[in-house]
Symmetry: C2
Amino acid sequence: MNITNFLNFEPVGKRIEDIETPVPLIDIDVVDRNLKRWQARCDQLGIANRPHIKTHKLVGLARYQLALGAKGITVQKLGEAEVMADAGITDMLLTFNIVGRRKLERLAALARRTQISVVADSADVVAGLAEAGKNAGRKIVVLVECDTGAHRNGVQSPQAAVDLAQIIDKTPGLAYGGLMTYAGAGQRLQAESFFMEARELCLAAGLATGIITSGGSPDMWKDEGLSQLTEYRAGTYIYFDRSLAERGTCAYSDCAVQVLATVVSRPTSERALIDAGTKSLTSDLLGLQGYGTAHDLGDAQVYAANEEHGYLDTSHLARKPAIGELVKITPNHVCPVINLFDRVVFVRGDEVLGAVRVDARGLVA
Amino acid sequence: MNITNFLNFEPVGKRIEDIETPVPLIDIDVVDRNLKRWQARCDQLGIANRPHIKTHKLVGLARYQLALGAKGITVQKLGEAEVMADAGITDMLLTFNIVGRRKLERLAALARRTQISVVADSADVVAGLAEAGKNAGRKIVVLVECDTGAHRNGVQSPQAAVDLAQIIDKTPGLAYGGLMTYAGAGQRLQAESFFMEARELCLAAGLATGIITSGGSPDMWKDEGLSQLTEYRAGTYIYFDRSLAERGTCAYSDCAVQVLATVVSRPTSERALIDAGTKSLTSDLLGLQGYGTAHDLGDAQVYAANEEHGYLDTSHLARKPAIGELVKITPNHVCPVINLFDRVVFVRGDEVLGAVRVDARGLVA
């Protein structure tokens, strides 16, 4: 089983110098290593791996994740689910409340042809899902989303979780599947006690909690707070990025994606302008200084960015980059970067393998 | 001449409630008013209007801007220029250094079929452009980009500008066309004196400076520092956005674009979650608090955002929005928002006119 067999490469030139910028370069060996390392850890923990495909949006890599042992995939919107279903992937969890008539029609259509589970955190959401379940002609499995400290979506207490689980259980067209959370950094123990209590309350109410699923790459290697989990949803672990390297979740050598850019201007010795701005790197800072780092170039930082301009700090460099020189920027947050590109380029070190179309790129809903 | 005749509407439902979210809603009457008001001002000032199409990326609106009196358009990358050239638009200025063999080939191909001017801020860039000019079979007009205070691209002094103008003038395949800057807020007077000096130095060197062009929407209504300009490049003025409303460049009623989103969760009375996060609103803050404002909903602010989640502060609202309720978010910075969507929806007040494909959406180079 070879990762390259899972991708359809389009010719894009043999050398990195042949590639038009800006574009994400993805080192396939780093991807392969990241995927295998995490799958091995999940196997060792006895926790199912359900990778979030929002990071890569590539059918080929989703298939490879499954081939390596992932139980299924996680998607964040119907568009992603539809693309993956078209590719024959049948086991997916959509971790976002589906609300609104058209979206519920799309969900019903998906449920007719694939095994899609969803989440809910209120009776209103459940009522909508019931319509989809009725139209799908089979029960849709619904997990209760729990707010275990992230202060985003989710029921606010274990008691609220069991209350909603009972509503789901009693709703024709739906089946109660379990509990779901997104645990931010440092929230794992809080989530564990929430889940423990909710699971026991469900049991007392006669409801078995089959799945308990948590997500998030930042704490993926931590051993605490895993006792309740049957599944883990990591997304960014396939590529990693500057934010996770700076947190210590990975090394910079684990970052598979670098945005290839060209130096287009060097107005002073203090700065160089590159052709990757916020329309390539995004404005996501995630608490960091700057919009990315050029490791091969003395850790020069993209200290400012406009839509199409990245400002590279060259003040400390003995050798300043020349006009036309290529630079590789490790982005702060890789997920929204990939979302901006129709195609990415896979490499193995300095060898160019080819461009790959981003199947679920930029689907807004 | 009616703006609606310039757009190809696809059916998307009759009522706003029929539209799937998230999607930008664009009020066509506000667009029309914004375009006419600015064109009238340029006419009154005797300055050519060369709107930047990076904001809307729509062939139809570019044509309408030209029909209203714009001299030509501004583009920021070859992909945008190619889409506009395909639509028959022939007069364009590309305000970004074109560097690299493939990009110069594309520039030559464009120059063979359209009237495209470009910029340069170094002899290295000019040397590349000379190749394109040679391959185009006709002279490409090159403007000297000047750094007049924005500390981005550009030659650093009027003397450097004339030095580069002379290099361009002596280069086969190229013609010196004039001077270009992007003037940030409050930099207009600085730019004026830079241009005055550079123009005189050019004249003394025997070079006529035909075009002096400045850009930027923030100071568009200010009367100072305009004496040297023959052209103005505004982009955001077509739609405006929260950042320009907060600066006082426009009123909130001039903001033509609102991102339509759905309330999907209301975990507490303090917050509601909407289905528009940074993959719809971007992470551009431009110095503001939050990722956008819901004016129709008591100025509730999107106080945080993840990729697909927007966190709406509902703590101060007497009536909390219900699950499934639609909200309209005025985005901080409209240009990168439009870049994220394949389609936008035009409305007239509450009347839905239809969806329009974003012709030059998300072209990365």
